[in-house]
Amino acid sequence: MNVYRFELRRAWVGVAVWTLVITGLLVGLIAGALPAFLESRTAVEHMLEQFPPAFAAMFGMQMDNLFSFGGFYAFGFLYYALFGAIMASGIGLDLFSREKREKCMDFLLTKPRARSRLFLEKLLAALTMLLGSNVIFILASLALYRAYAPAPLLTERALLAASSLLWIELLFLAIGACSAVFARKVRSVSGMATAIGFAGFLLSALHSLLEEEKLRYITPFKYYDAAKAFFDGGFEVRYALTGAAVTLLLMTAAYLRYIRADIPAL
């Protein structure tokens, strides 16, 4: 387990900082703005009365959902997902391109350990960090839920909604690992991680702007919808399955490539 320990030691500080930032953002948004948000409901209802009844009916159904803890939680989710995606793809890129960047592939691969074992230890280290980070995020979410949501509490639903960050991060970990393994050269981990994270963010923004259903299949931030988890008690199966399939596919591709790739001469 040397590789596992080594990778944890090298990367845990960055993950800890990201976790603090994400959790801080969550606490700040909910503690700072949720009460004002819930109060604005009367103003919105007032305005809806001036619109044709069809509009109001279409929208009125969602009022209870929109003006709730879950509705507000989902608003902020775009930003937690952005930060989480940058962190997770950063971990993937960092761990799986470390020897490539530092030009010491031969050092690691001549050790009496199978490449599959090395890959799995690195993966395990990445999963440990993501899980640790998400335990904190989920605990914070649940604590806020207990503090701010009115009874009756549906703790399982809150748990599922908070877990969507973990699923999104796993997908971005796979994207990062895949890019690291397939790229000929990784010049800057943070540069690629930022680009990948913002790409997900922009796709998500595009999907919200256009409301085009088909676009959602390529919008990772929306595979696991926190709002749906809160209101219906589950993700939309189609998209969640797409997300899980893409994650597994990318991870497998990275694994196969890692155990077979030629090591370039220095």
């Binding site: 109060e39 919105v44 007032h46 943070s190 930022t194 922009l202 919200s208 085009e212």
Partner: protein, 265 residues
Amino acid sequence: MNLFRKELKSGFKPFLFWSLGLFVFVFAGIVKSSAAMSDGKFMTELISKFPRIVVAAMGMANVNIAQFSGFYAVLMLYIFVLTAVYAAHLGSGAVSRESVDKTYEFLFTKPRTRAFILSRKLLAGLVFLAAYACLNLVFSLLAVRQLGLPDDYSGLFARFSLALWLIGLVFFSLAALFAAGFRAAEHGARAGNLAVLGAYVLAVAYDMIDQPGILRFFTPFRYFLNAEVITGNVSLLFTLLCLALSTVFLLVTFRRFEARDLGAL
């Protein structure tokens, strides 16, 4: 000229890749905008009733998406972010690429000063950034034709593309400065990228607060406000600020780069 040409050649493939992202975003955004605008009046009014902080979190602050110009402004806010990430990549690449690739001994033993080499590299980056802004203009013009709108939007597009270039310029020079300032290339690149992310967070915070005041100076994403660019009253102060900041950042970059150790950690 050899160096400049080589920089253009090696940066071309990434440029195509980034342009593809721009193309997808601008084209899909504009061509499909009519659907979003159809209930835009309703949405705009609805949004105005929400607390500021929520509207800002949705990225819908101070816009009227019932009109094409307002919709385009929302689209551009995201394009600004895309460009900033690309610009930071160009800026830090210009300074530390040879160190990362461990080819610095080859290049910097040539009979050219460091300032000469760095200036050619930065110039190539600026060319790509300018080309990116121009492409934004071209894509927008092409895409809006598909809509068959009665008005002429070329002025609006040109103003937004210019703002795009200026914002990109700030992040480009800031990333170059960080790359020159840190010993380890990865730390410099990370600082540049964090600057983009931090500026974006500040921009959202700017939208959330009723009286942001001085905050505007700290986030280039809000140097050019939607309403100003749409009406054409772009703030001269902030345009000059963009240019002044970039000049200062680049000057410091040159000074730092002359004096530093080249080997990357």
